[in-house]
């Protein structure tokens, strides 16, 4: 459950999932400047990891639902399958084989131990899958299980077990899905659940009982490098090293994860109260001044965009029935008009890059800029030319362009408001770029909850809006851009593009060929790039501040890795 720490705002809807990615993955060994007389890495010591968001305290990976809990879980949980820096699935505890993308055979490593001393066997995975299946739709991960053959029957009580799960021996299992899909592997729930630990809850269909249990809240266990020793709700969690960790004994004695207010991060890093923390880009200049801290930057898995309402969502279908922004040249011009380099530098301390497609560069399906038909750069002249061609001209001489029918044209741009003063400034900057090419623009700041509510309901005041998405391990962008999904906020439908997305998950078309699948997604990104139903603005990098004392830290776009190799100078 490597999760990228998306240090955006809580308000942004993030769909980061178990992923992985990261360009470079460059591991920097620190050259400590303080007291350089001691030798480098050594065993022992406590690492204090700070986070800003309060954790909920659901500390079993099979039940968690928040980013903050998952940051703690990274230390005590080890997934069966991980994702590499390009978000491609890689064996971890389990290896897999498949011929047809329908039947998978998984082989577990031998000798993997749970924190309570039990050996991890395939029955624990079956237990996890059956638990989720028996809880059914009340469980957040039901959609990661209901594609297994027989899971629905099991949920309805028509079967005593899930027919698609066939145990071969303690270390081998064969899983049959209800049909072949290109993304069955990415989709399946990849974490086991200890049978002995949860014996008293076996078969319980009420998720509330699971969530409230001591096994989840007070003494959770996993198979990861550190075990949870003590939890102080809402404040901190103490983890100690797990000597029998299957990849080797961890070097650190302890990890303390604690919640601290965002305003304290810089000071605590400076005086050594915190050894490691992700932070918001706006803190970069202050953190750069600290001598005892190094900064680790990894490509993130989220992107921001400016969407235009091109239609509405009716009866489960996206219908393109609004024409204010229907003109493709208009939308292209609006993207050419924005100096995104400058904007990212100004408002995100340069910790991001402009993108020309709705896909973060780290992802393996991301199209290279050279493959895309249009390479948008800051070019106000080009923007003006496109507007002229599209018929948006200033006919009444007031300095602003009118629409092709000679009527007043104004963009009503909306941005969410969370009380962060920089949001209004950055949104204002966008409208100014547009006014520079002659398009009158107004800005509305809307309270964030109301904002997403209005976007989702296609409220009439929402026509051009700022938003962000994270991407998951499964590259399929259907949930965001398909024609039957409510999260297609711009309400964009393009038959050809939809066809490509459908083909990319169709085993008949792609089989198990990843290259073929990627090509279809690249084609889809080309259409998006040309049409720009939403203007891709930028991708944001994840940044961590790490004390110089800490060594061996590995971070990828999916999150922190190899924690058992981390060490701290005493």
């Amino acid at each position: 459950m490597k999760k990228s720490f998306l240090k955006l705002t809580v308000l942004m809807l993030v769909l980061s999932l178990a992923l992985a990615a990261c360009g470079g993955g460059d591991k920097k060994t620190s050259k400590s400047s303080d007291g350089g007389n001691k030798s480098g890495s050594q065993d022992g010591g406590t690492l204090t990891y700070a986070m800003e968001a309060e954790f909920k305290g659901i500390l079993d990976v099979n039940f968690y639902d928040s980013q903050s809990d998952s940051e703690i879980l990274t230390f005590n949980t080890d997934p069966l399958i991980t994702f590499d820096e390009n978000i491609k699935a890689q064996p971890n505890i389990a290896k897999w084989e498949t011929k047809d993308n329908k039947v998978f055979k998984f082989t577990f490593e031998k000798g993997v131990k749970w924190h309570n001393g039990d050996e991890l066997v395939v029955d624990d995975w079956i237990f996890a899958l059956e638990t989720i299946a028996s809880i059914g739709p009340d469980h957040q991960r039901w959609s990661n299980v209901n594609t297994i053959e027989g899971a629905k029957e099991f949920n309805e009580g028509k079967a005593d077990s899930i027919s698609g799960l066939k145990k071969i021996n303690d270390y081998e299992i064969e899983i049959t899905f209800d049909k072949a899909r290109a993304n069955n592997l990415e989709n399946i729930w990849q974490y086991p659940l200890n049978r002995k630990h949860f014996a008293d809850l076996k078969g319980n269909k009420n998720i509330d009982d699971w969530l409230a249990s001591n096994q989840v809240r007070v003494n959770p266990i996993g198979t990861g490098p550190f075990k949870i020793q003590k939890v102080i709700p809402g404040e901190s969690v103490e983890l100690v090293r797990f000597n029998d960790y299957w990849k080797g004994k961890p070097k650190l004695d302890k990890v303390v994860v604690k919640v601290i207010d965002g305003s304290l991060i810089v000071g605590e890093l400076e005086n050594g109260g915190v050894d490691m923390s992700a932070f918001h880009p706006s803190l970069l200049p202050e953190i750069q001044k600290l001598k005892n801290v190094k900064i680790e930057e990894v490509p993130g898995l989220s992107y921001y965009y400016i969407g235009f309402k091109l239609g509405t969502f009716k009866d489960g279908k996206v219908v393109m029935d609004k024409d204010k922004y229907a003109n493709k040249q208009l939308r292209q011009a609006l993207l050419y008009a924005i100096d995104r380099e400058e904007w990212v530098k100004e408002f995100f301390s340069g910790l991001g890059n402009p993108v020309n497609r709705p896909m973060p560069s780290a992802h393996w399906i991301a199209a290279d800029n050279s493959e895309l038909p249009v390479n948008y750069t800051y070019d106000p002249e080009k923007a003006k030319q496109l507007l002229d061609e599209a018929g948006y001209k200033d006919v009444d001489g007031d300095g602003f362009r009118e629409d092709p029918n000679g009527k007043k044209f104004e963009i009503n741009f909306a941005h969410y408001d969370t009380g962060n003063p920089t949001y209004e400034a950055r949104a204002k900057a966008i409208t100014q770029y547009w006014e520079e090419v002659g398009i009158k623009s107004n800005l509305t700041m809307t309270e964030v909850n109301l904002y997403y509510d209005q976007i989702e309901k296609d409220h009439e005041t929402m026509e051009a809006f700022y938003g962000g998405w994270g991407t998951g391990a499964d590259p399929d962008p259907w949930a965001l851009w398909g024609d039957d999904t409510v999260w297609n906020y711009p309400r964009w439908v393009n038959e050809e593009a939809n066809e490509l997305l459908k083909q990319a998950v169709d085993v008949e078309v792609v089989g198990t060929d990843q290259e073929k699948r990627k090509n279809l997604y690249v084609e889809w990104q080309k259409i998006f790039n040309e049409e720009v139903p939403a203007l891709p603005i930028m991708e944001l990098n994840d940044v961590y501040a790490i004390s110089n004392k800490v060594q061996g830290v590995k971070i990828t776009p999916v999150g922190t890795e190899d924690m058992h190799k981390w060490s701290i100078k005493q």
Binding site: V10, L11, L13, V14, L15, S16, L17, T46, E54, K56, G57, I58, D65, S66, P137, D138, Q140, W142, S143, D208, L211, A212, R217, K230, I232, P233, G234, E235, S236, V237, E238, K254, V256, K258, V259, I260, D261, S263, L264, G267, E268, E270, N271, G273, E447, N449, L450, Y452, D453, W469, G470, T471, G472, A473, D474, A479, L480, T485, V486, W487
Partner: protein, 321 residues
């Protein structure tokens, strides 16, 4: 007195009922609901969200939701926190001890400082000492707690390193030991000072003014004429009369005791009721939000009553019936 108390207690019931209607409607009128922030397309499908909304009854009309809530509430079922996934009263009880510890410490600090400074200023009005105290107090009063908190952290935590800047206890000490309590005390001291600052200022000035006023009264002159020692006049005669207004504050202090301090707790990342209240509002965690609001309302009403009754006790001139 008993009749009076009973009457007041009975009058609280309709009041609480009205408060609950207003707060519930306001909470529900806030845009968004507790599921909005969890939307995560890679992870949850819209069907799950819709199903949960239906299950939690968010799609029903407000009055239906209200009646469902109030029926459960009066039966002692405060609902389940949508964020923490455990019953609202459990999560509140988890945080309450922290808040009581913080406010009790801050209350002690307030009273000790206010009494010491107030008595000194009252006995020696218009001297350098009195003016210094007054100046300090007005600064304390004018300083918003978010400014005071940030400064306190900067100076005492980051610069001098005397106090921790966050948390309620060091997680590595064993619970129940002497070190544990020492660590808790160490963590609570700085936020307690910041929290106490504001009240100290007003209490001090109240006490000072009362002492000055009383010292000019006839009974003081009489006592002086009888040859009573100056310290006895101040410490017994005047003091007893001057603490009357302070005693009435005690009722309101009860509310502060459990109400937590939203700003101070947030700045110091101190997991108490104030911080919980703030998260429950931002996450639309209705059951926690409503339980806390009802708790605050009840305590405010009780606090008022206690203040009135205490007033009658310390000052027999006041008759309650």
């Amino acid at each position: 007195m008993l009749k009076y108390t009973l009457r007041r207690v009975l009058a609280m019931i309709p009041m609480l009922f009205l408060i609950s209607i207003i707060v519930f409607s306001l909470a529900k009128l806030m845009p968004g609901d507790s599921l909005g922030g969890e939307i995560d397309p890679a992870n949850t499908d819209p069907e799950y969200i819709e199903q949960m909304r239906e299950k939690l009854g968010y799609n029903d009309p407000i009055y239906e939701q209200y009646f469902r809530w109030i029926t459960n509430f009066v039966q002692g079922d405060f609902g389940k926190s949508t964020r923490y996934k455990i019953p609202a009263n459990e999560i509140i009880m988890e945080r309450l001890p922290n808040t009581i510890f913080l406010s009790l410490t801050s209350l002690i600090i307030t009273y000790v400082l206010a009494l010491a400074m107030g008595i000194y200023s009252g006995r020696k009005p218009y001297t350098l000492g009195d003016n210094t105290i007054a100046a300090a107090n007005y600064i304390g009063l004018a300083l918003p707690s978010f400014v005071a908190g940030v400064f306190a952290i900067y100076i005492f935590s980051f610069h001098l390193g005397w106090f921790p800047s966050n948390g309620s206890v060091d997680i590595s000490v064993t619970e129940g030991t002497f070190e544990y309590w020492l660590s808790r005390f160490h963590h609570v001291l700085l936020p307690a000072f910041v929290l106490g600052l504001l009240n100290t200022a007003s209490y001090t000035q109240f006490l000072r003014n009362d002492i000055i006023e009383n010292s000019r009264k006839d009974y003081v002159r009489t006592a002086r004429a009888k040859g009573t020692s100056e310290s006895k006049i101040y410490n017994v005669h005047i003091f007893r009369n001057s603490v009357i207004p302070l005693v009435t504050f005690l009722g309101f202090d009860i509310v502060n005791l459990v109400g937590g301090a939203i700003i101070t707790e947030t700045i110091f990342t101190y997991p108490g009721i104030g911080q919980l209240f703030l998260t429950s509002v931002t996450n639309r965690d209705y059951s926690v939000l409503m339980t806390l609001t009802m708790m605050f309302s009840l305590l405010t009403l009780v606090g008022n009553l206690v203040a009135d009754i205490l007033y009658g006790i310390v000052d027999p001139r006041i008759r309650l019936d």
